[in-house]
């Protein structure tokens, strides 16, 4: 016994190490306990799911390849849709081995490293400002007009983006360069959901009333709910109680559900729900976590809404499904930043007020959703093109030129749109006023076009020989 006593310190060390190892093993596998392993703060884009390590680090020890798969599981679709100007295939091509040595853009994390708050810049970029120069340092040979431009100006000046240049490519600037502040017929594209559902034979489209309700006995709705439902597009398109409140359970039998969640909405609104789950409003639900609450947000939110739980119903309201309320009032219930607070004094709200008062034409008002949950063309799984609401409010937000085509140009000219989006103070005032300066890209594109036409006329083909 005495002999063992001399090893007492070692036993204590061994026991303590064992306990520590056991705790670490437990903590690393337990959501909510993983904060101790966080190597640094994550970006605004991912902070909601930062404690679910597996969301990005899908498989332990799989390295960068595993992380890349996780990035693409959420972002592949948008990269494809935006005609990515720097796709991975550009960097895996052996002929571009020299480019790859300068910038390994095969992986998202080469430019967007997480847990590096101290070097993270807008759009989650963690490279220094001069990353364009690595491959395009000789741009002035091809385009003498770019001579002397600052290396920080490529993306900052509203001229180029690394991924999405759909509103910035030269021929687009030339084609739309002559437009003014407002178009002749400024309004939003129409949605035709009911027509689509009827065409695809998902619904017969015949209106139903309270006397046709099929869930009275099972759900026992109070008269207020019945009245609300009766006035919705749901009732007018023939969507009965069972349409939302009945679904197959684990044993594959139809069961009545008191409070349906987003999975029920998916049966008719697949693209909308997919967008919701991809954006900041629904990404926690997508990861199987509890719903997002405004109190968790990094953006300024109203304390009164701190504990609200974000689901489809938070904005749409069960049974009423008032899209106008969802487009403005729902947003203002939670959001409390300067841009939001300035909305009701903006010309955009003025137009919205006119429309909902019945004085403005349909589609002429500009709500929060007009810009942040815009109506855009989707290709459905049936290969049909439809105008739907993009429910990922982040889809067009950063860089904000992504908003130009899908939103601004419904009403405004290209030059005005680019100028306005480049003016941070104007955005803060919710576009009350005029842009402070003009973005140069359209003028440069139009001048290049004139030079090209002149060259064509004289048969000279080299811009550098001018």
């Amino acid at each position: 016994m005495k002999r063992l006593a001399q090893y007492r310190v070692w036993f204590v060390w061994l026991g303590a190490s064992g306990l520590l190892a056991a705790w670490l093993a437990y903590a690393i596998q337990t959501p909510g306990q993983q904060a101790s392993f966080m190597p640094g703060k994550v970006t605004h884009a991912h902070h909601q799911i930062e404690l679910k390590c597996a969301a990005c680090h899908a498989e332990p020890f799989k390295g960068r390849e595993g992380i890349q798969e996780a990035c693409l599981s959420c972002h592949a679709k948008e990269l494809k849709a935006m005609d990515d100007s720097h796709p991975v295939s550009k960097f895996t091509d052996p002929r571009n081995a020299d480019t790859l040595a300068k910038l390994d853009a095969r992986q998202c994390v080469s430019c967007h490293t997480e847990h590096k708050a101290e070097i993270t810049r807008p759009v989650g970029v963690t490279l220094p400002d001069d990353f364009c120069v690595r491959c395009h340092s000789d741009i002035e040979k091809e385009r003498p007009s770019h001579k002397g431009m600052a290396f920080t100006g490529c993306a900052a000046g509203g001229c180029h983006n690394f991924h999405d240049n759909r509103a910035l490519y030269e021929d687009f600037l030339i084609r739309h360069g002559e437009g003014g502040k407002l178009k002749d017929d400024p309004k939003l594209p129409d949605r035709h959901l009911r027509d689509f559902m009827v065409t695809m034979e998902y619904l017969d489209g015949e209106p139903i009333t309270a006397s046709d309700m099929d869930g009275r006995a099972e759900l026992r709705p109070v008269p207020k709910l019945v009245a609300e439902w009766e006035h919705t597009a749901h009732a007018q398109a023939g969507v009965n109680c069972s349409g939302c409140h009945q679904a197959k359970d684990a044993s594959d039998t139809l069961a009545w559900i008191k409070q349906p969640d987003h999975t029920v909405c998916t049966s008719c609104h697949k693209e909308e729900v997919e967008g919701f789950l991809t954006g900041l409003h629904g990404m926690r639900l997508k990861q199987g976590m509890t719903p997002m609450q405004p109190g968790m947000a990094e953006q300024p939110m109203k304390p009164s809404a701190g504990h609200a739980k974000l689901t489809c119903m938070s904005c749409h309201g069960a049974h009423r499904f008032d899209t106008r309320k969802a487009a403005v009032e729902a947003c203002l219930t939670c959001h409390d930043d300067g841009h939001t607070r300035a909305y009701k004094a903006s010309p955009h709200f003025g137009l919205w007020h006119e429309e909902i008062s019945g004085r403005g034409a349909k589609g002429s008002g500009v709500s929060c959703a007009t810009c942040h949950l815009p109506r855009v063309e989707f290709t459905t799984p049936e290969d049909e093109t439809r105008v739907l609401v993009q429910h990922n409010q982040n889809d067009n937000l950063r860089p904000n030129e992504k908003m130009v085509r899908s939103v601004c140009m419904n009403c405004h000219g290209l030059q005005f749109s680019l100028d306005a989006l480049a003016d941070g103070k104007l955005i803060g005032r919710n576009f009350k006023g005029m842009p402070a300066k003009q973005i140069e890209s359209i003028r440069m594109a139009l001048e290049a076009e004139k030079r090209g036409a002149a060259r064509k006329a004289v048969g000279d083909t080299d811009e550098t020989e001018e």
């Binding site: 002929r95 040595a101 076009e449 090209g452 064509k456 083909t461």
Partner: protein, 186 residues
């Protein structure tokens, strides 16, 4: 016993023959594989250019082909069709790669870049393929360059009329560029 020996010898010979059978496949060298891949690419490219673009745009004047085909609701240009195919192959993780390059490209990214591309594009102007090896990013490749000729009016009318085209005097049958195909050698 003797019967067993005969049977086992026959089985062994059969197994050996089975393994030996694909020997003719192993006879395919890098050049044969490159030629086979290119024959498919060239055939598909010619079919798209003649039967889709040239017929619908130049002959029947039903629809145009445009670089900005999505915005213009138009046909994809033959060069883009080829590039999208090449990108789809790369996305699938195929070991080989290919691209359509030229000494007179409309898109400057499709200019010759490596010394082999420059030599190859010059060589194929005579009409025959060019084969060599090159090392890129520390890896050795078998590189084949095949002449790409103007097979339809659409090819020359577009290149000769494009504002960014460095050459505007192409004629039918001219070598306008080359398909560069690379196979890794180890």
């Amino acid at each position: 016993m003797r019967k067993f020996q005969v049977v086992s010898t026959l089985v062994a010979a059969g197994v050996a023959a089975a393994f030996a059978t694909p020997a003719h496949a192993a006879d395919w060298d890098h050049k044969d594989i490159a030629d086979a891949l290119h024959s498919v690419m060239e055939a598909d490219r010619t079919v798209y250019t003649k039967l889709i673009v040239n017929r619908l745009q130049n002959q029947e004047k039903v629809i145009k082909a445009s670089e900005h085909w999505k915005d213009d609701k138009a046909l994809v240009l033959p060069a883009q069709m080829f590039r999208y195919g090449s990108e789809a192959v790369a996305e699938k993780g195929a070991k080989f790669s290919y691209s359509l390059l030229s000494l007179w490209p409309v898109n400057k990214q499709n200019n010759a870049k490596t010394p082999v591309e420059k030599a190859g594009l010059e060589a194929v102007l005579k009409g025959d393929p060019y084969y060599t090896t090159e090392t890129l990013g520390g890896k050795k490749y078998f590189t084949a360059v095949y002449p790409d000729k103007a097979v339809a009016k659409a090819c020359i009318s577009c290149h000769n009329g494009h504002k960014d085209s460095p050459r505007k005097d192409f004629k039918m049958g001219d070598v306008m560029g080359g398909v560069v195909l690379r196979l890794p050698m180890n």
